[in-house]
């Protein structure tokens, strides 16, 4: 065997095959190898292959700390990544914004990009005036601030719009945001870098749309909503591809929580200690609104029922949140064996007190 190479160069296809198996950190470093490699790592061909190889069992977990109730200050916002076999929590650095805005919540996460909202806390400010919408890739650490939608003036000034984010299909090139504010619906597309009013076909004009507990599945966004305080809850969906809303009714007779989940790749919802999942009824072929059937998937044996609740799903385990004393803890729970598993490590901040959102995440090279 020779030790010096004297053969031909590998073709670009093969280089892409090899690169698609490298971690993002290595790929960012190798952007320096040559101008061609720089383009390769920012090209949607490699980005898509790399994305499809990535571990899709990761989640991002938000938590709050340093809230001082006496002075009514907003809590600080922290974020961790939950992943791997051991369900370890790894703290992630949020982007540093130049003004004094603080992040408040995650509006969406898809194909490796995370959409966050940050606000400068000033009393008596209209929401959109003080908010910033940021698109962030946690693993390439790139982020940018998006242009903001213009909201109609004639509504209560402190109302919050509902924002949604996602990719309309598997292609990682073009993402969209949707902004719902009373009757007004607007969509932002990355390719145009601007907002436009849309018809909002199928939108039922709900007064309460619980924007924090969204889920996103196969290019469709879901929120739980009510048309009015007195009316029952339903699920509102928005298809990012055709920009159409649908209302998904929930079975009557149960008390449904506003938190939506994903269970075994289906939309799911919680009723006290039960998790129910949605399935399309294939026997009904009429129209564009396939009938959805809800079935109970499992019940949970809470050990301290008044202090525990379903927080989210991670892989095929349930995360149970327990409110005790000064802060929340999370436990893993296996719905089949009904065994209580690992207690998640508490976030590092000194005055941590509670968890916010759990969202699906995957590492990718997607461009902001």
């Amino acid at each position: 065997m020779g030790t010096k190479r004297s053969c031909y160069s590998l073709g670009e296809d093969l280089i892409v095959e090899i690169l698609s198996r490298l971690p993002v950190k290595s790929l960012m470093r190798f952007s320096c190898v040559s101008k061609e490699w720089y383009s390769l790592t920012r090209n949607s061909y490699l980005i898509n292959i790399h994305l499809h190889r990535a571990d899709s069992n990761l989640s991002l977990l938000t938590h709050e700390y340093d809230r001082d109730k006496r002075f009514n200050t907003d809590p600080k916002f922290g974020i961790s990544m939950l992943g791997d076999e051991a369900a370890d929590l790894v703290s992630i650095d949020l982007p540093i914004l130049s003004n004094s805005s603080k992040f408040t919540n995650i509006v969406g996460s898809s194909n490796g990009l995370v959409c966050l909202v940050a606000r400068v806390k000033k009393k008596r400010r209209k929401f959109m005036d003080s908010a910033e919408i940021i698109i962030w890739n946690p693993v390439t650490k790139q982020f940018r601030s998006l242009p903001k939608p213009v909201l109609e003036e004639n509504f209560h000034r402190f109302d919050r719009p509902t924002l949604g984010f996602g990719f309309s299909d598997d292609n990682t090139d073009d993402y969209k945001l949707v902004n719902i504010f009373h009757k007004q619906v607007q969509v932002f597309t990355r390719s145009t870098n601007s907002w436009r009013e849309v018809e909002g076909k199928g939108y039922p004009s709900c007064k309460y749309c619980y924007g924090d507990f969204w889920v996103s599945l196969k290019g469709v966004l879901y929120w739980s909503a009510r048309t009015d305080r007195s009316k029952g809850r339903f699920v509102l969906s928005f298809n990012l591809r055709d920009e159409v809303f649908h209302v998904i009714q929930l079975p009557s007779g149960n008390y449904w929580y506003s938190r939506l989940l994903l269970w075994k790749n289906s939309l799911a919802i919680v009723s006290r200690n039960q998790v129910w999942a949605a399935k399309t009824d294939d026997s009904d072929e009429s129209g564009d609104n396939n009938k959805i059937v809800w079935t109970k998937q499992f019940s949970i044996d809470f050990s301290i029922s008044r202090c525990e609740e379903v927080f989210g799903i991670w892989k095929d385990q349930v995360l149970i949140r327990r409110h005790i004393s000064r802060y929340d803890r999370l436990y893993l729970y296996d719905p089949i064996t009904k065994e209580r598993g690992k207690l998640l490590r508490k976030p590092d901040e000194k005055n941590y007190y509670g968890y916010g959102q759990l969202v699906n995440y995957v590492e990718s090279l997607a461009l902001v």
Partner: protein, 164 residues
């Protein structure tokens, strides 16, 4: 089992089992065009590479039986780890590179995936210079341009895992 004869660039002849030979799209095309009794000439393949390929192929078959994985299925982590453990120590970076080229030339899909995985593992912790050498890539950035990237992604250049 029928044997197919091939001759490598340095004149050495090998007798391959038919099922191995047929895994090479290049050899298969030759066989379809010519008589199976002829020796197939492989002027782009060295004898050491052919020896390695035969070794690899045998090992992949063994591991597939052991892990119950079929050809063309997505290879699980344990399978890839076992493959890597077997072959990693014997091959220098340059030899692995050449072997990868040859397996690609011969069109042996089933080995290509394993070798790409091996190559990725070798590459991932390299420095930029080391990576350029391995892939034979021309350095075409000006010092200023390179410095800018290094600054923008400074976190990607730091870490105990990066080889010197």
């Amino acid at each position: 089992m029928k044997k197919i004869s091939v001759r490598t660039s340095d004149g050495q002849e090998f007798e391959l089992e038919e099922n191995l030979a047929m895994e090479s799209a290049t050899i298969k095309t030759s066989l379809d065009a010519f008589s199976r009794d002829d020796i197939i000439l492989l002027p782009n393949v060295n004898s050491w590479e052919m020896v390695k390929i035969i070794e690899f192929f045998t090992k992949v078959q063994e591991l597939e039986t052991k892990f119950g994985v079929k050809f063309m299925e997505k290879k699980e982590g344990r399978f890839l780890e076992a493959f890597q453990a077997e072959f990693d120590k014997d091959l220098s970076d340059d030899n692995l590179y050449c072997l990868l080229w040859t397996v690609d030339y011969l069109g042996i899909e089933v080995l290509l995936e394993n070798l790409c995985h091996l190559m990725a593992e070798r590459t991932k912790n390299k420095t930029v210079e080391s990576c350029r050498n391995l892939f034979g890539v021309q350095h075409d950035y000006t010092p200023e341009e390179e410095a800018e990237i290094r600054e923008d992604y400074s976190w990607a250049f730091e870490g105990p895992e990066i080889e010197e």
